[in-house]
């Protein structure tokens, strides 16, 4: 049987992305289903991530599945030196699908190669986090009505932010125009700019972040500028307040603009933005539920038709 695991967003073709968005849309219409009535979903969090775990567990529960798992690696045997392989094979005896988060990069890929059941990668170190990308794509699709020909502005830490890198790569199918707004030390790495060139994607780089720069945006994707990312702390002091979004900066923006953020935010979006109808980051997180319901169903072989025909 073909391995249906989801390890990296690059595994999805354009058609598959659109298909998964349609499925998420069905779950948004009616999140509570009995599709996974007799199934067991394991959530193995070798590294704590409350937000992601709650979202996956809610998705599993709303589909009617039972959830087993752990969230604190200290209580499991992996801290006693058990290999990942043994843990995965042991849990495969009980569960129909494994959702896993791991602090080591490549852990989900490896698990997907050894496990008899599908693996859903809920984050492996700084590497991949495909369900985050799917919820970002769903949020864009839902608020703009399309993924095609959009002006996407990415702001803040574009060097280490894996969510912006994954989103950039997934958007390659949809003819976007990117604007990268970042301090010098956290600029978009060359490999992603080369990626854009290779795929004929237009991009512009900015150091300034103000109402004029973002006036043309359809999507403003904010990320946090963290102190520990800087080698030059003087530089951090200079830029730390530059990449904060304030409500008055939205005065010239388009009506269809929506502001996304992978959460949690600290201070990079000021609280006066929250009541602006263009603020979308809380609904964005809720979209994660629908995107994850779709992902869990898909790896278990449940199709869009199955979901549509489920009454």
């Amino acid at each position: 049987m073909k391995n249906r695991s989801l390890v990296a967003i690059e595994e999805y073709s354009k058609e598959k992305i659109l298909y998964m968005l349609e499925m998420a849309k069905e779950f948004e219409k009616r999140p509570n289903r009995k599709l996974l009535d007799s199934k067991i979903v394991a959530t193995l969090f070798f590294e704590p991530s409350t937000r992601t775990r709650l979202s996956f567990e809610t998705a599993a529960n709303r589909l009617g599945a039972k959830v087993i798992g752990f969230t604190d690696p200290k209580v499991t045997s992996s801290s006693k030196g058990e290999t990942l392989k043994d843990t995965i094979l042991m849990v495969s005896n009980y569960a129909d699908v494994i959702v896993m988060r791991h602090y080591l990069e490549g852990a989900a890929r490896y698990a997907s190669e050894i496990a008899p059941v599908p693996i859903v990668n809920a984050g492996d170190g700084a590497n991949q986090h495909p369900s985050q990308t799917m919820l970002d794509l769903y949020s864009i699709y839902k608020t703009q009505g399309t993924l095609e020909n959009l002006n996407i502005y990415m702001v803040g830490d574009l060097k280490y932010g894996r969510t912006v890198h994954s989103l950039l790569m997934a958007m390659r199918h949809f003819n976007p125009t990117f604007h990268f707004i970042a301090p010098d030390e956290l600029k978009m790495p060359d490999e992603y700019k080369l990626f854009c060139q290779k795929h004929n994607i237009k991009y512009f780089e900015h150091r300034e972040f103000n109402e004029n720069v973002i006036a043309d945006a359809d999507i403003l994707y904010m990320t946090r500028v963290q102190r520990e990312r800087f080698t030059d702390l003087m530089e951090y002091e200079r830029v730390k307040n530059v990449y904060i979004l304030h409500n008055d900066m939205l005065c010239k923006t388009k009506d269809n603009l929506r502001i996304l953020h992978p959460l949690p935010r600290v201070n990079e979006i000021s609280y006066d933005v929250d009541d602006n109808p263009k603020a979308y980051f809380i609904q964005q997180a809720q979209n994660g539920l629908y995107a994850r319901e779709a992902i869990i169903c898909d790896v278990l072989g449940i199709t869009l038709d199955d979901v549509r025909n489920d009454k």
């Binding site: 290999t83 990942l84 392989k85 791991h102 602090y103 080591l104 990069e105 490549g106 490896y110 590497n127």
Partner: protein
């Protein structure tokens, strides 16, 4: 063509493969990458022989063994400039060149300490993403690394 003089620092073979111009400090790595210690063939190994180009070099002569390209390419990262001479009836009948294979299984150590391969008893897999620049990519953590600063297992 007959085997040249430096090769005669160790005994000639009738049929088989001669791997010459191996940097001396990489000789035993080459031996293990090719699995020579597990072979039943008659093998002659020369270590710390004199070489104009390398100063000290190693040479391996394996009687009755003819390598597939895939096998010999295993040593491409440690001895990229080694000469592979195929010997039949005491004569060199073919000189093979070594190139980095597109996929390397169990050869390279990932230089990312947070990679699963460095924390779990498992086999590494690397793919060559840029032949010209010598860029390898770890199949697991997806980090790209240059062949000049990688460690061979």
């Amino acid at each position: 063509m007959t085997e040249n003089k430096t090769e005669l620092q160790v005994a000639a073979i009738e049929n088989g493969t001669v791997i010459d111009h191996i940097p001396s400090d990489k000789l035993f790595k080459v031996v293990s990458l090719l699995g020579i210690e597990k072979m039943d063939n008659n093998v002659t190994i020369g270590f710390n022989l004199e070489s104009k180009k390398l100063g000290k070099k190693g040479i391996i002569k394996i009687a009755g063994k003819f390598f597939e390209e895939e096998e010999i390419n295993r040593i491409s990262l440690v001895a990229p400039n080694a000469h592979i001479n195929v010997i039949r009836n005491y004569e060199i009948v073919e000189k093979k060149t070594i190139s980095i294979p597109d996929k390397m299984v169990g050869i390279v150590k990932c230089n990312n300490p947070k990679c699963i391969t460095n924390n779990e008893p498992m086999t590494t897999i690397f793919t060559l993403t840029d032949r010209e620049k010598g860029i390898l990519k770890c199949h697991y953590c997806e980090k790209e690394q240059n062949k000049n600063n990688i460690e061979v297992l």
